[in-house]
């Protein structure tokens, strides 16, 4: 039931979940991830189909090095955009920030739909493939996720990550402690955008076609659901949420049209059942203690 294609989709979901999680870890509810995802994907789709220097073959093949370069460029462009936009929107708080980022997503969507070179409603298709099968995408997707996880894990002990947690708990108190809250929030926002941009570049090749629908309000909702249902207190939460919720509609395919209703029900009722998400701080603590015990007790 779960084939390689679905596995790659699930990993993309997990990556996007982490991208929504990063600003949230600094207490900022940003729904901008689909905008950055769309920007990264559009860049990769445009470059690989129009720039011959990247070496797209007539048979639809694509050199691995160019693919990796696009992941980098997609991330950089999204990050630069985030740096620009972040300075403006991060002055807003709570629901205002959420609405401003929804506005950003819609502006990017309409722009991609209407710009003369992005293929309009049909989009860009025939994006060349660096790998012959879907299985090939597993490795770069896993690599990106491992990198994102490593960064998040490092953040827990780095001053930046501690500052993010402090802002999340109490922004005013954090500022009084001398934390440059604007800079910390902006850094989290840019990190989130870089991850989303690279993921978009990967997804554009994987999906083979790219259009404005890839980054819409709907996707923003789904990505936020990854974080909320997975658990927003650790990066493992959005990873689990992204994997599960991306797989769910596909696994429900046999039940037919009801599947999206069921998916909606999960999002509707999930937070009442698991208000802290699936991965809670308590669960992590228990896992941590188990780990310690395993270290202390010699293997028999």
């Amino acid at each position: 039931m779960i084939d390689n294609g679905l596995l790659v989709q699930m990993l993309i979901g997990a990556l996007l979940g982490v991208s929504v999680y990063l600003p949230l870890a600094a207490g900022q509810l940003s729904l901008a991830t689909p905008a950055f995802y769309a920007v990264g994907g559009t860049l990769a789709a445009l470059l690989s189909t129009t720039w011959p220097a990247l070496g797209a073959g007539a048979d639809g093949s694509f050199p691995l090095a160019s693919f990796l370069l696009e992941l980098l460029l997609g991330g950089l462009l999204a990050g630069a955009l985030a740096l620009l936009v972040g300075r403006l929107v991060l002055r807003l708080q709570g629901i205002y920030l959420a609405i401003a980022t929804i506005a950003l997503v819609e502006i990017v969507r309409v722009a991609i739909l209407n710009l003369p070179f992005t293929g309009g409603a049909i989009g860009i298709f025939g994006i060349p493939q660096p790998f012959p099968t879907a299985a090939g995408y597993l490795l770069p997707a896993l690599g990106l996720l491992a990198l994102a996880g490593w960064v998040c894990q490092r953040l827990e002990v780095m001053p930046l990550g501690r500052a993010m947690a402090a802002i999340r708990n109490d922004e005013l108190a954090a500022r009084c402690m001398g934390i440059d809250t604007t800079r910390v929030k902006l850094t989290a926002f840019v990190l989130s955008a870089v991850l989303a941009g690279s993921t978009g570049a990967l997804a554009a090749h994987f999906l083979n076609t790219w259009n404005a629908r890839q980054g819409s309000f709907d996707t923003a909702v789904t990505m936020l659901a990854f974080v909320i249902l997975g658990g927003s207190r650790s990066w493992l939460g959005p990873v689990l949420g992204g994997l599960l919720l991306t797989a769910l509609p596909e696994l429900l395919r046999p039940v037919g049209d009801v599947r999206l209703v069921l998916f909606g029900l999960v999002i509707l009722l999930g937070p009442s059942v698991f208000p802290q998400g699936l991965i809670t701080p308590g669960l992590l603590e228990r896992l941590g203690r188990l780990g310690e015990r395993a270290e202390r007790e010699p293997q028999t």
Partner: protein
């Protein structure tokens, strides 16, 4: 020249009226609960489909139910009002499923955002499952008896646009009068101001909350029916776009402000109507560009109150 401008402005005001209805729907719930009901766009769709069904419109549900329809057809005004009332009831259901469980356990407001979005997702996909993904145009007899267009000061306006404007204006005036003059309207405002004090004064704040949801859903349903008859129902997702525009209007006018929602709606409709035809593809971005500018220049909206940060 003047005629064209007048025509454009009236068309803009008509769609602005619908934006105002949606924004008022958000405002009612926001002023009482301090959260945004993201299911409102889906309720808008529901209102449109219910109006269509109650008028005896046939559905095909992706070919599953070819030509099925209610055995009776109500005249448009009746169908519109009944559909709005039913949408209000559906909105109560949203409150019960998406808001009450979390409110009872004092959960983070962020969770309500997700659950209300989930409720909207369920509604839209139920509509898609039951009614199909195809679009429906209202029967031509919907507005039988009305002339095709009226001439106002030399400008030809589709009479359905005039109807739209009139119904929106009537709904907005009725709501404002109710809030200002009636006992229950004032009670709602009292709960919005301070729920604890309102409870001490003997106001049943839970009942007021349900009333806010009922009215909010009814306003969205009214908007859906009006858009259905004036344009068409392109699919179950029709309300999502209006829901998002309503959100932009809400911020434009100031969260929780009734006059702000009305003024913001009109302003947004007029601004969109003034976008020249060649750039019509960009029209949908205009609302959000305005929203962006307003958020940056005046985060409390045009007519909003400054929120004091509590330490």
């Amino acid at each position: 020249m003047i005629e064209t401008l007048l025509q454009t402005l009236l068309n803009g005001a008509a769609s602005g009226g619908v934006y105002a209805l949606v924004a008022l729907g958000y405002t009612l719930v926001f002023s009482v609960l301090g959260v945004i009901n993201f299911a409102l766009g889906a309720l808008f769709s529901l209102g449109g489909y219910l109006t269509y069904l109650l008028m005896g419109g046939a559905i095909s549900a992706n070919g599953g139910l070819p030509g099925w329809g209610l055995p009776f057809g109500l005249p448009f005004p009746l169908a519109l009002l009944l559909a709005a009332a039913l949408t209000g009831l559906a909105s109560l259901g949203v409150e019960r499923l998406a808001f009450t469980p979390l409110r009872r356990r004092n959960a983070e407001p962020l969770l309500v955002l997700i659950t209300s979005l989930g409720a909207g997702l369920v509604l839209v996909n139920l509509l898609q499952m039951l009614m199909g993904a195809e679009g429906y145009a209202f029967p031509a007899t919907a507005l039988a008896g009305l002339p095709d267009a009226v001439v106002l000061g030399g400008a030809r306006i589709r009479s359905v646009q005039v109807l739209l404007l009139a119904v929106c204006a009537a709904a907005v005036i009725a709501l404002t009068l109710w809030l200002e003059r009636s006992r229950s309207g004032r009670a709602l405002k009292a709960v919005a101001e301070d729920a604890t004090t309102a409870r001490l004064l003997g106001i049943n704040s839970d009942a007021m909350l349900r009333l806010a949801f009922l009215l909010s859903g009814a306003l969205a349903g009214l908007g859906g029916g009006l858009i259905g008859v004036s344009i068409s129902l392109p699919g179950p997702y029709v309300g999502i776009g209006y829901g998002l525009k309503g959100l932009a209007v809400l911020v434009l006018g100031g969260l929780g402000s009734v006059p702000g929602a009305i003024a913001g709606g009109l302003l947004m409709g007029l601004a969109e109507a003034l976008v020249p035809g060649e750039a019509s593809g960009w029209r949908d971005a205009l609302a959000f560009a305005i929203l962006f500018a307003v958020l940056l220049l005046r985060p409390t909206g045009l007519l909003g109150r400054r929120l004091v940060e509590k330490v």
